[in-house]
Amino acid sequence: MLESYAAIGMMITTAFFMGGSLLLLGWLIRPNKPNPAKEQPYESGVPDVRPPRGRYTSRFYIVALLFVIFDIEAIFLFPWAVAFDQLALYGYVQILIFIGILLFGLLYEWKKGALEWA
């Protein structure tokens, strides 16, 4: 088992070196003539006057919160699914209650408008 993870680690390292060597090759052969006009951030050809990292909608935070809740749910469901036959009816009823609570939570968020984007 540990050997399998070693193989995966070596694969990641190799992919890293492949990417790095491609970038190195590009660095060796590409031209490099920076000038101030080129380095302007893209804004449809007009100078950018507002700060580049401005404010954005708080909806993204709500999505992140929802993600944390439901991702933890998914992580709980994985071991349950694998051991489904052993846990049998007892495990099923427990998961039924667990998913029921989360579905109720989802309905509440829906009603409160947390899922509306506009």
Binding site: M11, L22, P41, V63, E116
Partner: protein, 340 residues
């Protein structure tokens, strides 16, 4: 280093190189298929029927200047594409490409690693790819890039939940997260009276398959869910400020993700290397190619979703559906085992 690890490693290097080659020709395939669907010719100037086009594109991108915007966070800006590129192909480590073969008297397994949490590993690596996108978008110091990166992050995490939950039904039936085990279970035959069918999980989990397919398209940021790079509103999205080979790294990562998620779908739902005659890697290739064609077909057919529609689809439609699918699968399984 012992022989087993060495053979796994050599196979990993082969997989990485084959994926890069496939990815290059995936762009060619996509352009040709899209051209045919739109009544055009497509690339046909570079080499016979344009077959050298991906190589020409690669050389062109490699020799282009790498422009770094003035206010950019340089270190993150330079590293983000590499992160995307490194994480995309390593998800293929757990996909079984067939039974072991004999090379010079040595048994070589046609997978890099058979770990007992293979499916979880695949999902984890797949969702880490979003870091490259959001860091690239943030570091560019351009409002379009930032918004593209944020949109992409929100989209990928929403659909990641759907992707993970849609597979739970399969794991209830298989009792294992190992892809090697899942493939071997699917090679059994299902006897339905006079009808003999392969025991593929698409037959026992059709709803999960459809949901998985939708989530997979959204997870790889492809049309009709390609909002992170919606040209009409966000210029290029997170890669607006990228040029040259760093720009191409994002595309390499996107296409490699497409290929790998197709392989994964074929492995989980369509029996992987199992086929009617002579099981082998060719069946996996055919099934994955069908998925890849489907991706391109979608791109030419379906217009892009609006962002609120996209998030609404994930949270209001697909999430309740996958939860119902899980409970239903569990109920039928219990009933089948006579445990009710």
């Amino acid at each position: 280093m012992d022989a087993n690890l060495l053979s796994s490693y050599i196979f990993a290097v082969v997989v990485l190189n084959v994926l890069l080659g496939l990815m290059a020709y995936m762009t060619y395939f996509e352009r040709k298929v899209m051209a045919a669907m739109q009544d055009r010719v497509g690339p046909n100037r570079t080499g016979p029927v344009g077959l050298l086009q991906p190589i020409a594109d690669g050389i062109k991108l490699l020799t282009k200047e790498d422009i770094i915007p003035k206010h950019a966070d340089r270190r993150i800006f330079l590293l983000a594409p590499l992160l995307s590129f490194v994480l995309a192909p390593v998800a293929a480590a757990v996909i079984p490409f067939g039974d072991s073969i004999n090379v010079f008297g040595h048994e070589v397994n046609l997978y890099v690693a058979d770990i007992n949490v293979a499916a979880l590993y695949f999902l984890a690596i797949g969702s880490m790819g979003v870091y490259g996108i959001i860091l690239g978008g943030y570091a560019s110091a351009n409002r379009y890039s930032l918004l593209g990166g944020l949109r992409s992050a929100a989209q990928v995490i929403s659909y990641e939940i759907i992707l993970g939950l849609s597979l739970i039904g399969v794991f209830i039936l298989s009792g294992s997260l190992s892809l090697v085990e899942i493939v071997s279970q699917q090679s059994e035959t299902l006897n339905l009276g006079p009808l003999q069918l392969p025991n593929w999980f698409i037959l026992s989990q059709p709803l999960a398959f459809v949901i998985f397919l939708i989530a997979a398209v959204a997870e790889t940021n492809r049309a009709p869910f390609d909002l992170p790079e919606a040209e009409t509103e966000l210029i290029g999205g997170f890669h607006t400020e990228y040029s040259g080979f760093r720009f191409s790294f994002f595309f390499l990562a996107e296409y490699i993700s497409m290929i790998i998620i197709s392989l994964f779908a074929a492995t989980i739902f369509l029996g992987g290397t199992d086929g009617p005659i002579r099981d082998g890697v060719w069946w996996l290739a055919i099934k994955a190619a069908i998925f890849l064609f489907f991706y391109i077909w979608l791109r030419t057919t379906v217009p892009r979703f609006r962002y609120d529609q996209l998030m609404g689809l994930a949270w209001k439609v697909l999430l309740p559906l996958v939860l119902i699918n899980i409970l239903l699968t569990g109920f039928i399984r219990l009933w089948g085992l006579g445990m009710l």
